[in-house]
Structure formats: C-alpha cells, structure tokens
Amino acid sequence: MSQIELIEDYLTNRMDDGARSAFEEQMNADPQLKAEVNLQKGIIEGVKSARAAELKAMLNNVPIGGASSAFIGKIAIATISAGILGTVLYFGLKPTASEEIITPTEEITTEQPHTPSIETPKEQIETIAESIETQPVESEKIKNNSSAEVVRPKKAEKVTPPSIDVLDLTEDINNNKEEMVAPRSTNKPTLSASTIEVELDDSNKSYSFHYQFKDSRLALYGPFDSSLYEIIELNGAVHSIFLYYNDSYYHLDQKEHSVVPLIMIRDTKLLNMLEEYRKKN
C-alpha cells in the first residue's frame, strides 16, 4: 500500500485501531509525513465543505411558498409557462430568422391567441423597465401570502428571491392571462435568453428522427417540417428542454453534442404536467 493510500485510509477512518495507532506513531516520528497528512486533511476537508456548500446553495435556490405541499409539479408548470412565452417571443421576433424553419408564425400564435406577436417585443421592453420597481413590492406580497409570521430578512443578499415561481403559478392557473405571465417572465433573466435557434434538416436519410445541440443551436433531423413542433424550456433549478411534436413530448439534453435519436417521454406524471400546461395555453 502506498503512503498516499495509507494517509487516505487514516483520514477517512478506514483503518482499524491497531493500524491507526501504528500510523500515528510513525507520523509523530516523521515530520514530513505529518505535514503530508495535514495537507491531505486540508484537501479532503476542502472537498467536503465545498460539497456541503453546494448542497446548501441548491436548497437555497428551491422556491418556498404557498401553503400547498404538492410543490414540485406546480413549480414546474409555472416555469414551463415562462418557457413557452420564450418560444412565442422567439417566433414572434424572428419569424424568418432561418429559412429552414418552415413552421409558420401563425400556427404558433393561434395556440397563444392572447399574445399578438407584433406587440410582444414592446411589452417586453416596458416590463423590463417596470420590473425594477415592481419586484420588491411583489416579494413582500409573496411573503405575506405565504406566511403570517415571517420576519423580514435582514441579509437580503443571502435570500433567494422569494418564490416568484410559485406565485406565478397560482395566478397563472386561476386567471390564465397572458399579461400575468409576461411581466413575471422578465423577472427571470434566463428567460430572455430562452430563444434556442432551431435548424431543421431532413436531407440526411440515416437520421430519421434525431437531434443534436451544436454551438447552443438545436438541430432536428427528420421530416419535421410537415408538422408543428414546439420547444418548451423549463427554467427551474434544473434547466430542461422539451420538444413537443406530433402529440408527443421528447426530452432534449442540451449537453448532447452528437446526433442522437429522439426518445419519447413516457413518464405519465411529467406528460400530464406538460399536457395540462399546453392545454391551458
């Protein structure tokens, strides 16, 4: 066993008592070994506290709010709502961005009758300006909604902006008005960038129903132009992208840089959620 392995076993408590005391004796007699053990200890402790910090940051990004306990599904729906708006914005703003996008703008907008594509950019600009003022008020409102005994936070920088997603959702479900979604979506800076460029390609016969991400653009291979497709972005703690095509949903892995086949989502929970949302819009 190498020295480094011995040190590691010692530091991760994988030594039995006998080996442990022998190692300690050796360490006390050898300052160089002792220094190495201390260095290794620092490194391992560093990895551990980095992981603890990572987990904490992950939790800190979890939106808390609402009295409901069925959080996960609802939050996802709310973020999808914002994602679809992103799609609409994309098609609204750049109807002829690429000749290869055959899907006509009208087809998309008929699904979103409340959002005339021409007006959308204007709204976007206005609400960005507004959001600076409105955000604090909203935050307070959420606080009041979600809990009566909340003490106002003093260290604002540590706080995740309180559960805008969740509030977004309730209003979205109850009113289902586009204008409710539009201003809120601007609170999430990631959404303005949710315009994934899509390329269609049915020239390659070996890729019948495939996709690939290249230079953050999405390429769809297959006879996509014949039917309506839609890109749904989820901007939650985990950024996910889905393709809706021909009444089916497909998960798109943005890290996938090679051409891979599209695989239909069969998770009924997720499907219901995506489906429910699409119907509402």
Binding site: I43, A52, L55, V62, I64, E149, V159
Partner: protein
C-alpha cells in the same frame, strides 16, 4: 411519495428528494428557530445545515431511520440552533471583555480549494465530492455518473484526486494552504 420512498431516494443520492423534503418541512423547521429568538435568515440557515447533515448521514449509509424524517431533522435543527445560541452568547461576553475575534474556518484555504475544484472539471468534482462527502460506494458513484463499472469509478477517483493534489501543490505553497 411516502417516507420510505423518499428516504430510499435520498440514500441513493437523489437530490430532488432532498429538495422535496426541504419544501415539505420548511415552515415547520424554520418556525422552531424563529420562535426561539432567531430571524428567518438564521432559521433558513439552520434548517439547510440540518438537511445537509441528514443528507450526509443518509447517503453514507450511516443512518438507520427509526423515527420519521421530520422528527430526526427537527432534532438536528434543535441541536444546531442551541449551539448557535451558545456561540452568540459567548461572543457577546467576549466582546464585552476584550476585542478577541473568533477565528473563522480559514477562509483563505476555502478560497484555494474552491479555485482548485473549479479547475478540476465537473466529473472530477462530482466523483470526489460523492466519495469524500456523500461517502457513496464505488458502485453508487459509477451508477450516478454513468461509468461502466466500479473499476472505472475507482480509477477516476484516483486520477481526480491526484489532479486535485497537484493543483493544490503547484499553485500554492503548503504554508499558504495550512495557515
């Protein structure tokens, strides 16, 4: 999801299950601190720390759950908050006596480690974190990161650790690191 399922998922290192728990008991756990002279910030902090402790014990297989998850996490919150109150009390006494500052957890070393870990790349970071903090088995690490088998995981872990050691050594003298 029932308790058993959630716990099993957490044991397997499913972070989504931890997030689920976090949301489910948020109000209940933060109330404990907030009704005991803590702010919401402190309450959230304690609750998050408690869940990290719970996570570590669960993923490492050290925890056999004999009570409800909430009961267990609640008791960690209680302990952590009691400690924090003690620390505050001591601090306020010392502040009166003299201007002794409590030495924090070497922030310099933390900075060095963060930098080195960031240079490692995502997979290496995950391997090392899963191994040292979550104390997952090589099988679990292989499963989670999509390695072919435990040998791949072992080799990966060995190489990643070597790389991290080199980074720490090459960029910083031991003195900087240990001080």
């Amino acid at each position: 999801m029932d308790e058993k399922e959630i716990f099993e998922r957490i044991q397997k290192g499913d972070e989504k299950a931890l997030e689920f728990i976090y949301k489910k008991y948020y109000r209940m756990m933060t109330k404990l601190v907030m009704t005991n002279s803590g702010t919401e910030d402190e309450a959230r902090d304690v609750y998050q720390d408690a869940l990290v402790v719970f996570w570590q014990k669960a993923t490492s297989g050290k925890l056999v759950l004999t009570s409800k998850i909430s009961t267990y996490v609640y008791s960690i919150c209680q302990n952590l908050w009691r400690k924090e109150l003690d620390r505050k009390k001591r601090l306020s006494h010392e502040a009166k006596d003299s201007s002794v500052t409590i030495d924090m957890d070497s922030p310099e070393r933390e900075k060095i480690m963060d930098k080195c870990l960031n240079q490692l790349g995502e997979t290496c970071r995950k391997v090392l974190m899963y191994y040292y903090f979550d104390e997952m088995s090589m099988q679990e690490i292989a499963d989670r990161l999509g390695f072919a088998n435990t040998d791949t995981a072992k080799t990966k872990k060995y190489k990643c650790k070597q790389k991290l050691d080199e980074l720490v050594r090459s960029q910083y003298s031991e003195k900087d690191f240990l001080d």
